[in-house]
């Protein structure tokens, strides 16, 4: 073995190790296993220095045996590093895919919720940015740039957090025992009144986007409905695009409405007026704020956005219009129990946040 290689004739293992080191670098070993890779690099530098020193000796005394062993050892070390790297990357890839799935679920959930509450600052803008960043992360993963992809996830979270911050106060009502109890009471009173007086009554449940027609206290027909862009909110003033919550009755019927047929309700009622005055006194509404009115149940289509009215498909409106009359009670509530869709969505979001904090 001694004197096999001249200064220009290098051990073949050196080229192999150099190639291996390049492959490891390309595979981003310096990012995934920085300490181990640094060690490997240090050993490689040492082996190269040893080779240089050996080359400096008088040719008759050169012995490349130990140098070759050093490079062989390095090759083995590099192979082990490659295997560890592969495992590390697989782990990261799988964790990233899980994270993507969880973020996508959250985006989908928030997307549904922001259809009826877009709020200010515009929550949909943040939601779109979150979705964009998630798409970026997915594209980076496709290019095998796992670390760059991973760095996008907290940015997605930041935008989603802004959406949640905007939504939580709105959705919290649908989880709050006092609100639920009040809505339950109103619903029960409406059912009882319908039973006792043997009349039709209308119960509108926002969380379910449903209008239930009651007769003798029993549901006889359920219609899907739509609201305004702030449909999840209780109406407080004119032009807030919210739908009022409370106990009302029909005060007018319009067979030739611009929106097919319409049933006018007595919003604002006494309670609405008291609440409006209270909020105004407290300075929670603008000085020029007015209470609004002309809230109707009308046709036009359940998928249409209203300014606070309740919209039905024309066929449903046709049916409903002729079943009810002036004086028919109309009760609008947020939800009829604790396990409503919005409360469940909120719980789901809170659970996801909790899981993230304590994985």
């Amino acid at each position: 073995m001694g004197g096999c290689f001249g200064e220009t004739q290098l051990p073949p293992e050196l080229r192999l190790v150099e190639q291996q080191e390049m492959d490891l670098w390309r595979a981003e070993a310096h990012l995934y296993l920085p300490q181990v890779y640094e060690n490997y690099k240090k050993n490689l530098s040492q082996a190269k220095r040893d080779l240089l020193e050996e080359n400096q000796r008088f040719p008759w005394f050169r012995d490349y045996g130990p140098i070759r062993d050093e490079f062989l050892k390095l090759l083995k070390e590099g192979e082990e590093l490659q295997q560890r790297l592969q495992i590390e990357k697989e782990k990261k890839r799988s964790a990233l895919l899980d994270q993507f799935e969880s973020l996508q679920e959250k985006i989908n959930l928030l997307s549904k919720l922001t259809i009826l509450y877009q709020g200010k600052p515009p929550l949909r803008v943040h939601l779109t940015k979150a979705e964009l960043l998630l798409t970026e992360a997915k594209l980076l993963l496709k290019e095998n740039r796992l670390i760059a992809s991973e760095k996008k996830c907290p940015l997605v979270e930041t935008h989603l957090h802004k959406v949640q911050e905007g939504l939580y106060p709105i959705l919290a009502r649908y989880q709050h025992p006092e609100w639920i109890a009040k809505w339950k009471r109103w619903a029960q009173e409406t059912i009882d009144e319908s039973r006792q007086r043997d009349i039709y009554s209308i119960l509108i449940i926002k969380a379910e986007k449903k209008l239930i027609l009651l007769k003798k206290g029993e549901p006889v027909k359920t219609y899907p409905v739509g609201f305004g862009k702030n449909g999840w909110l209780d109406k407080l003033q004119a032009r807030d695009h919210a739908t009022p919550e409370g106990k009302y009755h029909i005060i007018g019927k319009n067979p030739r409405s611009k929106y097919y047929k319409a049933l006018l309700i007595n919003y604002p009622n006494e309670e609405d007026r008291r609440e409006f005055e209270r909020l105004k006194r407290k300075g929670l509404l603008g000085k020029k704020a007015t209470i609004g009115g002309s809230i109707e149940i009308h046709g036009g289509g359940k998928d249409h956005l209203t300014y606070g009215c309740i919209a039905l498909d024309n066929a449903s409106m046709e049916e409903l219009y002729y079943k009810v009359e002036i004086g028919t009670p109309v009760t609008i509530i947020g939800a009829r129990d604790e396990r409503n869709s919005l409360s469940l969505a909120l719980t789901d979001l809170q659970k996801k946040d909790e899981e993230k904090k304590n994985p």
């Binding site: 259809i115 515009p122 949909r124 779109t128 964009l132 798409t135 809230i295 009308h298 249409h304």
Partner: protein, 202 residues
């Protein structure tokens, strides 16, 4: 005595000659290092990371050779000098090729931005066809927020290009194009839903 003196002088001359060959190439090290630093500071790592690694490795190898000679009694830095010269040449060649690489990355980012712009414009044009205010579909109202988000992000891509973050800009623009196409599709579906139905109010 004369003979001894002659041997002494000869040995001295040889020693002086050897010492002359063994002078550490400090100037070469400095000029090579500065050529390497120059090309790295111009963004070699950003536009050609593999080249940056090769350059750094070559510099380290040359410095290893210098260190080996540093530790010897009879130093010979000829090989180290050659290696340093090679590294310097490599750094200068890489520096010369860098503007073209930068330009290529810039063009890639700009063309990705153009594609994203046109996808966002398509979404905007579709949205413009939808009914406004009262009677619009809830989905469409929400999607207008999405389009606003897309427009904001287009500005972010332009900002990244200005900051010469071309790779990041191209990636963002590609994501933007994908999302804008999705939004266009959703707008089309929402428009289909409202077709034929009467508008709602209040």
């Amino acid at each position: 005595m004369m003979r001894t003196m002659r041997y002494f002088l000869l040995s001295l001359m040889i020693l002086v000659l050897l010492a002359g060959c063994g002078k550490k190439p400090t100037q070469e090290i400095e000029s090579t290092q500065s050529a390497v630093n120059a090309v790295i500071s111009e963004g070699l790592g950003k536009y050609a990371p593999e080249e940056e690694k090769k350059l750094k490795d070559a510099m380290a190898a040359a410095m290893d050779e210098v260190k080996v000679q540093d530790g010897k009694t009879f130093k010979n830095y000829d090989k180290a000098k050659q290696m340093l010269a090679d590294v310097k040449k490599m750094a200068e060649e890489m520096k010369a090729a860098l503007p073209a690489k930068k330009e290529q990355a810039k063009q890639n980012a700009l063309s990705a931005l153009e594609a994203a712009k046109s996808a966002v414009s398509e979404a905007k044009a579709l949205l413009a066809k939808a009914p406004k205010g009262k009677g619009t579909a809830a989905d469409i109202q929400a999607l207008s927020g999405d389009v606003k988000g897309l427009e904001d992000s287009l500005a972010e891509v332009s900002g990244l290009i200005e900051k010469e973050e071309f790779s990041e800009a191209a990636n963002k623009a590609n994501a933007l194009k994908e999302k804008a196409s999705g939004v266009s599709e959703q707008i089309k579906q929402a428009l289909e839903k409202v077709k034929g139905a009467k508008p709602a109010k209040k």
